[in-house]
Amino acid sequence: MTTDLRRRLSVPAKHLGLILIGFVMLYPVLWMIASSLRPGDEIFRSPGLILDSLQTENYVEGWNALTPSFGTYLVNSTILVLGCIIGNLVSCSMAAYAFARLNFSGKRWWFGIMLGTIMLPIHVIIVPQYVLFSQIGWVNTFLPLIVPKILATDAFFVFLMVQFIRGLPRELDEAARIDGCGHPRIFLQIVLPLMKPALATTTIFTFIWTWNDFFSQLIYLTDPDMYTVPVALRSFVDSTVATSWGSQFAMSVVSLLPIFLAFLIGQRYLVKGIATTGGK
C-alpha cells in the first residue's frame, strides 16, 4: 500500500524533473530562435520566449551580410554533404562486405588496423594530409573533404556495417553462391538491399557530422566563394560587431535547420546506430 502510494507520487515527480531538465537544456536554443525574430535592440532586454511581433529583418540582413550571400554557402554545404554521403555509402559498404563475408589472408590484422583508425584523431593526420593536398592543388576545392570518404576512411561506418552484415543469415548468400553468383552480385543484389537500415544510419550521421564539421573545412576552404555554412558563419561572426546578435542568431538558426530536420526524419536510425555500435 505504501509502496503503491510512493510509486504513484514518484512517477509525476519524475516527469516534472525530466521536463524541467529538458526545458533548461533546450531553453537557450528556443531563446535563440525567438530572438532571431526580434528587432536587434530588444534581444538584450528580453530573456523570455514570447514575441510581440515577427520581425524577419535579421534574416534579410544576415543573408546578405557577406559576399556572396548565404545561399551560396548553403549550396556549397549541400554539395559537400551529398558527396560525402555517396562516398561513405559506396566505399564503407564495400569494405564492410569484405570484412564480414570474405576470407582473405591477414584478415584479422587488417580488421584490427581498421578498428584502430576509428580512434585516430583528424588532428594527427591533418598536417601531412594538407601538404599532400596543397601539392596537388586541391586546396579550395571540395576534393580534400570528399575523397577521404570515397576511400572509406570513416572507419566508424565500416564497423557499423560489418556488425550489421554479420547479423544477416549466411544461408542467403550461400544459396546464391550455389546458383553461381559471384561476390559482386551477392553484394549488390542480396546483401546491399538487406542492409538498408545500416545505410540509412550512415547517411544520417554523415549528413549531420559533415554539416557540422568545422575544423577540416576551415583548413581547406579559404576562398569565400567556396565557404561552407560553418566557415561562413564564423567569418560572419568575426566580421560584425558583437552587438548585432539578431542577424548572427538568424543565420545560426538557418544553419541548424537542416540538422534539426535530419534529426526529425532520422531519429530512429540515429538512436539505433548509437545503441548498436555502442552497446554490443
Partner: protein, 307 residues
C-alpha cells in the same frame, strides 16, 4: 565418377573459392587500402618524418633533428595548453557521464513518453559541435548575455563569463556536459539488457534501491560505462570548434581556452610551422594513446564482465 574424383573436384573447388576470395577481397577493399595509404596511416608516418624538419610549405623541408620535439618540452604556451586541455577533459567527461547515467536511470523502466524525452535530451549532442551553438554560447555567457539576465531576475550580479580568464573554460565545460545525450542513449541500451529478475530477487531480499544500484546496476553496466569513458575522453581531447569560435580563434582570454588542438592549428595553419605542428600532432597521438592505455589497465580493477 569415383569418390576420389569428387573429392578432388571438391578440393579443387574449395581451393578455387579461397583463392577467388582473396582476389575479390582485394577489389572490395581497394578504396579502403588506398585510404589507409594516402589518408590515414600514411600521413601518420609522414607526420613523424615532418616532425624532424623545418617546413613552411614554400621552401623544401629542412632536416633539423630533434629540435621540434625538444621544443615541446620548453614551450610554455604549450604547457599551458596541456593544462587547459587536461582540465577540460578530466572535469567535463566525468560530469557529462554522470548526467548521462543519471538521466538514463530516470528514463529506464518503461516510463511513459520515453521516446520523447530521449529525443529531447539527445538533440543537444547533435547541435553541440556546430559553430551556431558556439555563437549562441558566446551570447549566453557574455556580459550582457542571457545567463546574466536570468541571474539579474534573481538579484544576482553576473559578469562576463567568457571574457574572464577564470571562468571562460567553465563555459566550454558546461557546453560539453550539455551534450550528454549520446552517452545517455548508450547507457539506456545497456540498462535494458539487465534482467529484471535481478532486481526482483534483490527486492525480495530487502535490498534498498540504493544498494540495488551499487550492487546490481553499476557492476552490470560497468562495461558500458568503460566504453563511454574511453570514447568521450578521446572525443574531448579533440574539441576545437567551440574554443575557436568563443575566443575568436585566439584561445583567449589569456590563453585560458587554448585547447591543444587550437594551439596545433595556430602553429600549423596560421604560422605555417608544419614541422612543429607535425611534432605536436604526434605528441597528441601519444597522449591520447596513453590515456586509453591507462583506461584499459584500470578497467581490470573496476569493469565487471558477466561472461
Amino acid at each position: 565418377m569415383s569418390a576420389l574424383d569428387e573429392l578432388r573436384q571438391l578440393r579443387h573447388g574449395g581451393a578455387q573459392v579461397r583463392k577467388r576470395d582473396n582476389k575479390a577481397a582485394f577489389w572490395f577493399l581497394a578504396p579502403w587500402f588506398a585510404g589507409l595509404l594516402f589518408i590515414t596511416v600514411g600521413p601518420v608516418l609522414a607526420s613523424f618524418g615532418l616532425g624532424f624538419t623545418k617546413y613552411n610549405l614554400i621552401q623544401p623541408p629542412k632536416f633539423i633533428g630533434f629540435d621540434n620535439f625538444a621544443r615541446i618540452f620548453s614551450d610554455e604556451r604549450l604547457h599551458n595548453a596541456l593544462g587547459v586541455t587536461f582540465t577540460y577533459v578530466l572535469v567535463s567527461v566525468p560530469l557529462q557521464l554522470a548526467c548521462a547515467l543519471g538521466v538514463a536511470l530516470l528514463l529506464d523502466r518503461g516510463l511513459r513518453g520515453l521516446a520523447f524525452y530521449r529525443s529531447a535530451f539527445y538533440l543537444p549532442s547533435l547541435l553541440g559541435s556546430s559553430v551556431a551553438i558556439a555563437v549562441l554560447w558566446t551570447q549566453v555567457f557574455g556580459a550582457e548575455g542571457l545567463l546574466n539576465r536570468v541571474l539579474g531576475f534573481f538579484g544576482i550580479e553576473g559578469k562576463g563569463w567568457i571574457s574572464d580568464p577564470d571562468t571562460a573554460l567553465s563555459t566550454l565545460i558546461v557546453l560539453n556536459v550539455w551534450t550528454f545525450g549520446s552517452p545517455m542513449i548508450i547507457f539506456l541500451a545497456g540498462l535494458r539488457q539487465i534482467p529484471a529478475v535481478y532486481y526482483e530477487a534483490a527486492a525480495i531480499d530487502g535490498a534498498s534501491k540504493w544498494s540495488q544500484f551499487w550492487r546490481i546496476t553499476l557492476p552490470l553496466l560497468s562495461p558500458i560505462l568503460f566504453f563511454n569513458l574511453v570514447l568521450q575522453i578521446i572525443h574531448a581531447f579533440q574539441s576545437f570548434t567551440q574554443a575557436f569560435v568563443v575566443s575568436g580563434g585566439t584561445g583567449g582570454p589569456s590563453d585560458s581556452t587554448m585547447f591543444y588542438t587550437l594551439y596545433l592549428y595556430q602553429q600549423g595553419f596560421s604560422r605555417f610551422d608544419m614541422g612543429y605542428a607535425s611534432a605536436l600532432a604526434w605528441f597528441l597521438l601519444l597522449i591520447i594513446a596513453a590515456f586509453t592505455a591507462i583506461n584499459f589497465w584500470a578497467a581490470k580493477y573496476w569493469v565487471f564482465y558477466d561472461d
